[in-house]
Amino acid sequence: MEIFWVLGIPLLGGIVLATFGTGRHAPELNSAMSFGTFLAAVVLTVRVISSGAFTAWDEQFFVDAFNVFLVALTAFAGFTTSLFSRPYMRIEQHHGKLSINMLRLYYSMYQLFSFTMLLALLTNNMGILWVAMEAATLTTVLLVSLYRTPASIEAAWKYFILCGVGLAQALFGTILLYFAAEKILGAGGTALLWTHLNAVKMQLEPTVLSLAFVFLLVGYGTKVGLAPLHNWLPDAHAEGPTPVSAVLSGLLLNVALYAVVRSKVLVDGALGSHFAGNFMMGFGLLSVVMAAFFLSRQKDVKRMFAYSSIEHMGLMTFAFGMGGPVATFAGLLHMTVHSLTKSAIFFTVGHAAQNSGTQLMDGIRGLIKTSPTIGWGLALGTLAILGMPPFGVFTSEFMILTTAMHSYPWTMPFLLTALGVAFAAIFGRVQLMVFGETTGERLPHPPALIPVFLHLLLVLMLGLYIPPYLAAWYRQATALIG
């Protein structure tokens, strides 16, 4: 029943906002819908924690500790981003960048995008997972091109084609998975259900599964933004409206990684070797290194943080690839803190760009003078994402690095160099943007700051103290992934 509300509210929201999205209170309606989804997700989470994993509706949906934590995170960040988008979109409208019909499209697609992500997380069917991932691309493609500038249309086209081709690989992987499963489970609807697959994963044909995993990893990995398949990501993040960059970076990438990890669990069972893990470590390491070096060459602030997302997604993929209790725990924690921190950064960056009238970092100066809260938010968020203690990113990165040092010492030079380069690049730029002289003016509407500081506070808390129930929850999820 809770699942019904978690999925039903955003779907209904998409339809309602498509009809009434031009009204004066559309932003509030959007936030209310997201808040409803968040409440439903909380109820679902409480139920899963108290009574354990369960399936619903003919086993078509499945909730366990691993996906419920992502559902809660997705619903929470979806809600705070909707709070942020209220003043942000008003200012964009004030600046004449968006018309009322574009806003209606935005609100409606925002809700449908939440729906597709939650569907991808909650479904038990690997085929529906693919359908939901593709639908997530479709709902965001028009959001990336919302401003209708040539650059944004180019970014959206690239996003559509690259992710479409990437996901076609994942569909082929899913077909191969079904091919292997059908021999054991018989034809029909149950052979793609994850719970059934998980029960018989030892018997699945290893050669087919290893081939399937390569396709699934390449396919969903395109969506995660793993190098060398990441080309769409910086463009889509830089050219779309900032709330969209925040949800793409903070939520969609997580959901895509979730799909990869779910596939990995099956393949590990079938192969009994570290085959899938090795692939993920390779892709992850390449992404971390590549992103760090591209970071230092960026001029656009959103582009720079998009590359930082690639770096962090690479780090998570690397952590899940290593496997084992500590690395997987760290990977899950990193998913949480990265998504909270990165969306908070995008919130401040969005307002900073509005303030200065440009996204180019050379044009953004002295935020601390024009709007101190935005300046401090950006400074603190940047420190958090760079892995400074006492923020939560430090905790997870520390755990990932120590595990890597212990099990794969040869990766250390790559990881440490990349993290160092990224630190130097981002810190230097942000310092200039926050301090320094400015000619910027105040914003016509008060900026949204509650979401920024709420996210940063949570990240700070996760760095200092992980509540026992949360730790137990992560450990449960870790045990599921292995």
Partner: protein
Amino acid sequence: MNIPFTAQLINMCAALLLLIAFAMLSQRRILSLINLFAWQGLVLSISTAVVAYSSNQYHLYYSAALTLVLKVLLLPWILHRLIRKLNIKWDVETMFNIPTIMLIGLALVVFAFNLAAPISQMAGTITKSTLGIAMASVLLSFLMMITRSKAVPQVVGFLAMENGLFFAATSATYGMPMVVELGIALDVLVGMFILGIFFFQIRVAFDSLDLKHMEKLKED
């Protein structure tokens, strides 16, 4: 060697699919390209129906009907309307090196057959020999997307790739579960509508549907 009539029919359909994939690779006129896409859908639909008949997999009849409605009637109709509205019906794309592209295509087919060989040996379906062709048509559509610089042919390549994947699913496993197939069909349809909106946006922004103009976002 005695091959049952239905199996011969399926093999012939597969061969036709491969021929159409090559024809699309070298077709420069947008209108003919869309017609080829519709033919590909028709052959796909017939072969799915024959598989359904010969293997008594009744759910495949629904797949065949879905393919017929979506890929032979609806999508080509939308594409025809689009190119008429965009006034590019008689557009001819300038393509160089068609012989080279065809040679690369030949190499891809050989590669696809090699890749599919171990899987087809494991398959128990009567269509297992066609898996190589399915993979080849996926790769050929991919090649087509790479070699085209205009928006509409790229999208036709994308849809043809989906056709290839559908054919792979029927030849390896007698099709995916119905709910998944419906979901995929819905995605394709919604995607087509969004692309339709998109063509107009591209035209307004760039004054042309030639993607050569899209070179702003590059890492330097």
